[in-house]
């Protein structure tokens, strides 16, 4: 690791001020950032820890009934505290990494990082959640901009994520055998307005919505409804763990499994 300054503010405003410094970076649970510092892949001037900001931690219910998760809330807290209100989200959080990762890693860090194989982006996009930062509210559909890129400005902090709670929802994840991130993971949510299907792990462009499946499932929310659909391998990731064709297959299989368990 290169040397850097470390700050641990108590409020979002203090954090935003600290992040105004050139090359300062927010630090969530450090599960992604610290390893990259160790490998000398990043050289921030300062790390501004967000985990001491009380208003950014915890799970609660908003006035509109949405499930609100503080941006610095660890996965384990979501797994435990969202279980009653939004079991599909809690189950997703409870299956990220291992216990150590879940007790340190945060939702804000995961979304800001936007790893193309991460789990949370599927839930956020699939639920049609809103990402609230220190400056604005960003709709999920506008947030994810491809591999490791998001709509966040430098220094912008994810303060909260608001999830409208669907009637039925489920996440079906097929694990990459080594990392156990999603080789392909599909989040399906059914609301009064229709069905959303968000896919992570599969596409070269990161998390995406599968429009045909949404349409078919909005008509008829059953695995059979998408039996006739096929997913193109074009634009799917090909690597050591699977060809584009394999991932295209998983998109459909995992969508069907999510629907069955929703």
């Amino acid at each position: 690791m290169y040397a850097f300054d470390f700050e641990k503010p108590k409020t979002v405003a203090e954090a935003a001020a600290a992040l105004a410094r050139e090359d300062a970076m927010p630090l969530g649970g450090g599960q992604t950032l610290i390893p990259s510092l160790k490998q000398h892949l990043a050289a921030p001037s300062a790390l501004v820890s967000l985990t001491g900001i009380a208003e950014m931690r915890g799970v609660c219910t908003g006035d509109d009934g949405a499930l609100c998760v503080g941006g610095a809330t660890p996965h384990a807290a979501v797994a435990a505290d969202a279980a009653g209100k939004y079991p599909a989200l809690a189950a997703l959080a409870g299956n990220i990494g291992d216990p150590a990762v879940r007790n340190r890693g945060t939702i804000g860090g995961s979304l800001a990082n936007n790893d193309p194989a991460a789990d949370y982006p599927a839930a956020v996009l699939g639920s049609g959640a809103t990402i609230v930062t220190n400056n604005r509210a960003i709709a999920a559909d506008d947030f994810f901009e491809g591999l490791f890129t998001t709509a966040l400005e430098p220094g912008e902090i994810i303060v909260e994520v608001r999830f409208p709670v669907p009637e039925r929802a489920a996440y079906a994840k097929f694990q990459q055998p080594a990392s156990r991130f999603a080789l392909t993971g599909v989040f399906v949510a059914k609301t009064a307005d229709g069905v959303r299907v968000a896919v992570t792990g599969a596409s070269e462009d990161g998390v995406f919505r599968w429009a045909e499946a949404e349409e078919a499932l909005s008509e008829n929310f059953s695995a059979d409804a998408i039996a006739g659909l096929s997913v193109s391998a074009e634009g799917m990731v090909g690597d050591l763990h699977g060809t584009p064709a394999y991932r295209a297959n998983l998109v459909k299989v995992m969508t069907q499994r999510a629907v069955r368990s929703a």
Binding site: P177, S179, N249, L250
Partner: protein, 790 residues
């Protein structure tokens, strides 16, 4: 009631107390006053010519004490290889120099060409990035077939076809095997890959070099499976210093699986730097360095042919293998694909004729050497897979085909067509046992239950044999070994009656401290708590050859036993004097020397005391003291064998394989500690399932390691393996060592991969995917799915 102490008891591992409580002392735990830190600079290209290394900026950075490059080692020796193999035409193998730091060329990604020593680790690491290396990239040689075909592109400039040797075993069998295959009623052919594995010991390699200018002594603390061999290699070959001026200490070592048998350049570098700086110099590998620079395992590309009668009676086996040795010859790299592989190609079968051809090839990849099983898993996998394929082609029952071809108990000792003399075994017994454990008759019901869940179920069998307890020195000498393969132990009875046992074998997870103490305590009739096992320090232990090849118990345990016999013999002489009886009349039993037929007795403690306080002692004819050393050179290999049955469930939609059950019936001869044996089998089978289903080492065409971290290298985890069902009740004790023990450390890793893959193929076949006759390991979800698609 099961025994609670002594030979055969499941005594809890005494070393686990310190391991589990964080009280172990590993190399990286040692803090030495004045220590400096080394960081190695490693090649980022697979193949390149080093034009210039400019370390001037790095040397001027804060805290930097010195920078060394390949230039600093060009006049010292290379790291030699321990086994000379001759090619079929009689010419000796090609043996390029392996320098401590790369010189002239870099030959694989991770090949270290410089080292920075600094006051702190962070300073050394930053300075390492400031070294400017002008390395002219050359085309990478990765694929073995291309490596031997293209003589213009060379890993070592002096070796035109990148071939280390072209070995035939046994060359005299060749014509007859060819003939038999030509004329056979049926021939099954299988081309397969035995996937390259990264050993992934939990503790990465680490070394600390010290130099004591007052005496000119060196000390190396290092992660080694065999400290004496490391000392020999460094002293006599690499650094040219007297052996008695170098102490090598291998303290607690967190796993090796073969990768820590070998001497590595980093060890010579920290010693050299320590002398140069007059300060201790330490290094601990980062995990990514382990991936790039530990000796890897396996990596064979094989074509095997099985000739048989229509009823499945074997006629001949023929194997052609290309074995990847990587960029340099690691210490046992040449013997692993030859004498540890080709000699096992008869399996436990009475096959009349076998021929094996192995071409060992240099490539721009990390060196490959022995890894748990070492050659024997490769042999077993080839054989057990091709037999399975043959059974399918001829519609024969795989259990019956094995039975029909097994060597029978009346045939021992049995000499195979590939030169081994099996002393004893009962292959029918282990197969019967495994079938009983697996409830083979109930398979159809289990298959139906899986089908109801939408899963395809299959069952796979592997009947394996290995040669371990390596090895008879005279024999390995004839075959090209440059070392002897005895082991040694010293049993020192202290004046107060407790006992220190110094062993040449080294424990890096196996449990020697417990098991050797059980043996000593049992044979001397003393409590286990009074026996201490000392290993891993060349200044304390006799010259032994260390631990690998499932040899610790069979070879070093035999040395311990011999030393104890000497102690007892001397004790009888002392007792005879003290009890005023004839030596022949003294009996030793349960820790007591008695005069036969009388109640006159002396306890073991009294005899020990008398040996050290020899007031009433036969000093004219007997030396005082009670300490004996024994060297034991085995008369033969030992031949553990067994039958493994695996059941899997395959999810055809995703290709995911779950191991539903795994049954092991092993014959390890006599068992010293059943719990330790079970632990060894569990670990070995876990590694075998890892190889079969998950682990893969992939270099791209530029020689970049794609699976260079746990993000892409899939280790088996607890939920990838089932509850193992392990049995070792079939026991045909080894006929030629005093413990009757055969060795169990590698068995699981040898026997399990083909059982898993055979089960997957069986599941797919039964599920109607009859076009799938083979899938290369790792049988990953993506590969299974692709195979189903056709």
């Amino acid at each position: 009631m099961p025994k609670d102490h002594g030979i055969g008891a499941s005594v809890k591992r005494r070393e686990d107390v310190r391991f589990l409580m964080g009280l172990g002392k590993y190399t990286d735990d040692m803090a030495i006053a004045g220590q400096a830190h080394a960081v190695f600079v490693r090649s980022q290209v697979a193949h390149g010519r080093i034009n210039k290394i400019d370390a001037s900026d790095a040397a001027a950075m804060p805290g930097v004490l010195c920078v060394l490059t390949g230039e600093d080692f060009k006049d010292v020796g290379g790291n030699p290889t321990g086994w000379l193999i001759n090619s079929r035409d009689g010419t000796p193998m090609r043996e390029p120099k392996r320098p401590a730091l790369a010189h002239g060329k870099v030959r694989h990604v991770g090949d270290a060409y410089a080292v920075v020593i600094a006051e702190t680790y962070a300073q050394a690491k930053e300075a390492a990035e400031a070294i400017v290396a002008d390395i002219e990239e050359l085309p990478a040689i990765v694929d073995m077939a291309a490596a031997v075909a293209d003589t213009s592109n060379r890993v070592h400039d002096e070796i035109p076809d990148n071939l280390c040797y072209d070995w035939g075993w046994i060359e005299d069998n060749r014509a007859a095997v060819d003939e038999a295959i030509r004329n056979a009623p049926h021939v099954t052919t299988l081309e397969l890959v035995n996937n390259r594995l990264v050993p992934n010991a939990m503790e990465p390699r680490a070394s600390i070099g010290e130099y004591f200018p007052g005496t000119g002594d060196y000390k190396l603390t290092t992660t080694s499976q065999n400290p004496h061999l490391t000392r020999l290699l460094i002293a006599a070959f690499v650094m040219g210093i007297p052996e008695n001026k170098l102490t090598v200490v291998a303290p607690d070592v967190g796993g090796g699986f073969g990768s820590k048998i070998y001497h590595y350049g980093e060890e010579a570098v920290v010693l050299t730097a320590a002398r140069k700086l007059g300060r201790p110099v330490r290094w601990t590998a980062e995990r990514s360095e382990s991936f790039l620079s530990d000796a890897h395992g396996r990596d064979h590309v094989t074509k095997i042919e099985l000739a048989c009668e229509k009823d499945g009676t074997f006629i001949a086996f023929r194997t052609e293998t290309m074995a990847n040795v990587g960029a340099y010859l690691s210490n046992f790299a040449t013997v692993t694909p030859t004498f540890l592989h080709g000699t096992l190609m008869a399996g436990p079968y009475k096959v009349p004729n076998v021929y094996v051809n192995v071409k060992t090839v240099f490539t721009n990849t990390a060196p490959v050497d022995a890894y748990r099983g070492a050659g024997r898993p490769e042999a077993t996998y080839s054989l057990e897979r091709v037999i399975d394929k043959m059974c399918r082609e001829l519609g024969l029952d795989p259990f019956e085909v094995r039975r029909k071809n097994f060597i029978t108990t009346d045939m021992f000792p049995y000499t195979t067509p590939v030169g081994l003399a099996y002393d004893t075994g009962d292959y029918h017994a282990t197969l019967d046992k495994a079938m009983e454990m697996a409830d083979v008759a109930g398979f159809e019901a289990r298959r139906a239950a899986s089908a109801a869940k939408g899963k395809l179920r299959g069952m796979g069998l592997s009947t394996w044999i290995e040669a371990c307890g390596i090895a008879p020195s005279h024999l390995v000498g004839i075959l090209g070994s440059r070392v002897g393969l005895y082991d040694a132990a010293t049993v020192r009875v202290n004046a107060t009656g407790n006992i220190s046992v110094m062993t040449g074998a080294h424990s890096h997870g196996q449990g020697h401290e417990t098991v050797f103490a059980q043996i000593v305590a049992d044979k001397l009739g003393v409590p286990e708590s009074s026996v201490e096992i000392v290993h891993g320090d060349t200044s304390k232990i006799p010259f032994g050859m260390g631990s690998y090849g499932s040899r610790s118990l069979a070879v070093c345990g035999s040395a311990v036993t011999k030393a104890i016999d000497k102690i007892v013999a001397k004790g009888k002489k002392i007792a005879a004097h003290m009890l005023e009886a004839a030596e022949e009349d003294i009996a030793f039993e349960n820790g007591s020397f008695t005069v036969a037929g009388t109640d006159k007795a002396k306890s073991f403690g009294e005899i020990a005391f008398s040996a050290y306080v020899p007031h009433n002692y036969p000093l004219e004819t007997l030396e005082p003291g009670l300490e004996e050393t024994a060297f034991y050179d085995p008369a033969n290999f030992t031949y553990p064998a067994g039958a493994y049955i695996c059941e899997v469930e395959v999810d055809a939609e995703t290709g995911k394989v779950d191991v539903a059950a795994f049954h092991c019936a092993d014959d390890f001869g006599n068992i010293m500690n059943p719990m330790v044996v079970e632990g060894q089998v569990h670990g070995g089978v876990g590694q075998g399932i890892g190889q079969a289903l998950c682990e893969n080492t992939v270099y791209d065409e530029n020689g970049q390691l794609l699976s260079g971290s746990y993000m892409d290298y899939a280790m088996p985890r607890a939920d990838d393996v089932p509850f193992y069902n392990v049995d070792y009740s079939c026991q045909t004790p080894c006929t030629h060592n005093p413990l009757g023990a055969k060795g169990c450390g590698e068995a699981g890793a040898i026997g399990s991969p083909p059982a898993v893959v055979n089960a997957v193929i069986d599941a797919l076949q039964r599920g109607g995917h009859t076009h799938v006759t083979h899938i290369d390991m790792p049988v990953s979800p993506a590969r299974v799915w692709a195979a189903i698609q056709g």
